[in-house]
Subunit: 361 residues, 2 copies
DNA sequence: ACGCTATCCGAAACCGCTTTCGGTTGTCAA
DNA sequence: TTGACAACCGAAAGCGGTTTCGGATAGCGT
């Protein structure tokens, strides 16, 4: 493969040094704020660098310094290749924060036939990334196990079962669902069904736990057929709703593990001729913008995904920067979801005009 | 700043060469399929590299070869930091294709106070990327103008007004909206309103053109108040729908520039007590999964965004690989959107039970 | 046995930047 | 004046690969 010859115009530190009549070393130190370069020289170098449009080659700089200011992010492989909007916003926040810190974000997907850990391993071994962010954690997550042994800084968005020895930022899912149940109970509901997600996923498991704990604490019993796990898309939500509607003793409210599931449920209910918001209350989780656009508006537990992304970025960079200092503490941050009230949850059997409490505020 | 000393365990080509009793050059050529290394040697080197877990440092390799197998993608800055789902899927496809070609994807955001071109320029000048993908093109797009002069390979997802001299992949938006209008006319509609997006955006402009051309061709006149531009979110859609409903002569169908707008419109119509799918037909564009989950299901012009992302990735890599060959042609690919029929569009004034044609198939 | 090609591999020069180390200056006190 | 000490800067050795160039070895015909 022929070497790609740089065109002569490319501004290198060598050219810049020659232009200034200085050595490369001096120029380098001048530009990197070394204390042993005269003020005047620094100014002169800065000026010339600016005028000639010099930008140090990150590649060469990396090689020389042995640090890679890039963090990796592997898109979770999903059926149908749909990135959920929550992830997209996290990514946006992450990218923004990293750009502000002059770090790069390397995004990779997992091609069929490979697995996530393999992809991550390659990225690390080939020196492409110096840190990692993982999202959508499972209760037992091989990615975390791997990163633990890899000695590079990383932050998880979401915890695992065993999460003492690494950095994470998570929403208090359990508390959020306790709050949601309590809210429904406060409205007068006692028969509350639950559409849960993949129990392998930590957030789904925790929300489930919150549902179980709060219903128990409030003395709501969970009739057979009220709980459905493994609901990960609208179709599954629809089927689960149909089953629930077949039950002799209907619930009056359905708590859903995500907004997507909730929206699927709302559709299925409407489809069955049930008036959502009066005959049946529905609550979701995420705070997607879409929840505001549907009818009725979705009452949901909101999490600030963009902010989560930014904070995760902040943490991982901070951790990388102090990687030398020994026995550094891990940031472990728990944020709370907040209830966003719209039209889809109301006191049971109250035949109000759902339209009057539509989603657009 | 202290140099980060590599731990001794790091497997470098030097160590590998010493271990094999070969020179670094030989090892390098063996691993890179040079023809002048004996078969047996190649096998021996391969085996050892495998066993010792050697992975060449991409940084060093880049420096030596002068090529950067990374393509950049800058997230368009939007109000409210919401990546639209269409972009997210493109990104997914792009990441997948690049991973398969052993290229990297560098994603950056645009921090407040900076602009996109500036961000792209830094990425290029500092040698972080060797190619670019831009999405969501404007009719006159400064990013394209910039990339034209930058001499690095790039592909646009979407065209600009002036698009002869660069590579792009686009959906035939104009034809799609002609088709959509024709479909509505075929159903019996004559009074068709239009909710258009930001006319600066090329796709919005083209869809608008398709609407105008087809209505004219079919002799549908566009009553005053039928056309609304600049509708970019659900709220704007709602307001536009309210205006439309105030018109003395209602349209019977509304064509929407995107699914998001269509969903907003559907909500607003439902809110106003209008039965979508019978009293008013709605058609969107994108084919978002959400369109299947709402009620009634959204009839829409679908584009295969994941596939678009993959194809764009394929093109940009191909272009980078043949960058040496002179006067290479530019791939310019036009795909067609396909009509996905669900419940939101039907013959006018036909009072069918919309539920029976719900969105879940 | 001898020269002549192929075949295969080693030596060494990069790629562009960082960082250590030491050598010049200039300044100031003795 | 001289010696000591800062303050500055240059020289050179990397970082971990790739690639050119030429030398050694082996196989071959005569």
């Amino acid at each position: 493969m022929p070497r790609v010859r740089k065109q002569n115009e490319t501004m290198s530190i060598a050219r810049l040094a020659k232009h200034l009549g200085l050595s490369e070393g001096t120029v380098s130190r001048a530009l990197n704020n070394y204390p042993d370069i005269a003020e005047k020289t620094v100014a002169r170098v800065r000026k010339a660098a600016d005028e000639l449009g010099y930008r140090p080659s990150t590649t060469a700089r990396r090689l020389a310094r042995g640090v890679v200011e890039t963090i990796g992010f592997v898109l979770p492989a999903r059926d149908g290749h749909q990135i959920d909007p929550f992830l997209a916003e996290i990514l946006d926040g992450l990218a923004t924060e990293l750009a502000l810190s002059d770090w790069d974000l390397l995004v990779s997907a997992v091609p069929d036939g490979h697995d996530e850990v393999e992809v991550m391993d390659r990225l690390i071994q080939s020196g492409k990334v110096g840190g990692f962010v993982v999202a959508r954690t499972k209760r037992h997550d091989p990615r975390i196990d791997f990163l633990r042994t890899s000695h590079i800084p990383f932050v998880a968005q979401g915890r695992t079962e065993n999460c003492d020895d690494y950095a994470w930022l998570d929403i208090d899912n359990e508390k959020a669902f306790v709050d949601a149940v309590n809210y429904l109970v406060g409205l007068g509901h006692r028969k509350i069904a639950y559409l849960g997600g993949d129990p392998e996923l930590n957030y789904a498991w925790q929300r489930r736990a919150g549902y179980l704990a709060a219903t128990k604490a409030k003395g709501c019993d969970i009739a057979p057929g009220y709980m459905h796990d493994g609901i990960t898309n609208e179709l599954a939500a629809r089927e689960a709703v149909l089953e629930i509607l077949k039950l002799p003793d209907h619930p009056t409210a359905i708590l859903c593990v995500t907004d997507a599931v909730a929206i699927g449920a709302i559709h299925a209910l409407a489809h069955a001729g049930i008036d959502v918001g009066s005959e049946m209350s529905v609550i979701g989780f995420d705070g997607l913008p879409m929840g505001e656009a549907i009818h009725p508006g979705l009452t949901t537990m909101s999490q600030a995904s963009y902010k989560i992304g930014r904070e995760v970025g902040r943490i991982v960079v901070a951790q990388a920067n102090k990687a030398n200092s020994p026995a550094s503490e891990f940031s472990q941050i728990l944020w709370e979801a907040s209830l966003t009230v719209r039209g889809s949850a109301n006191p049971p059997a109250l035949k109000l005009a759902a339209n009057a409490k539509g989603g657009i505020s």
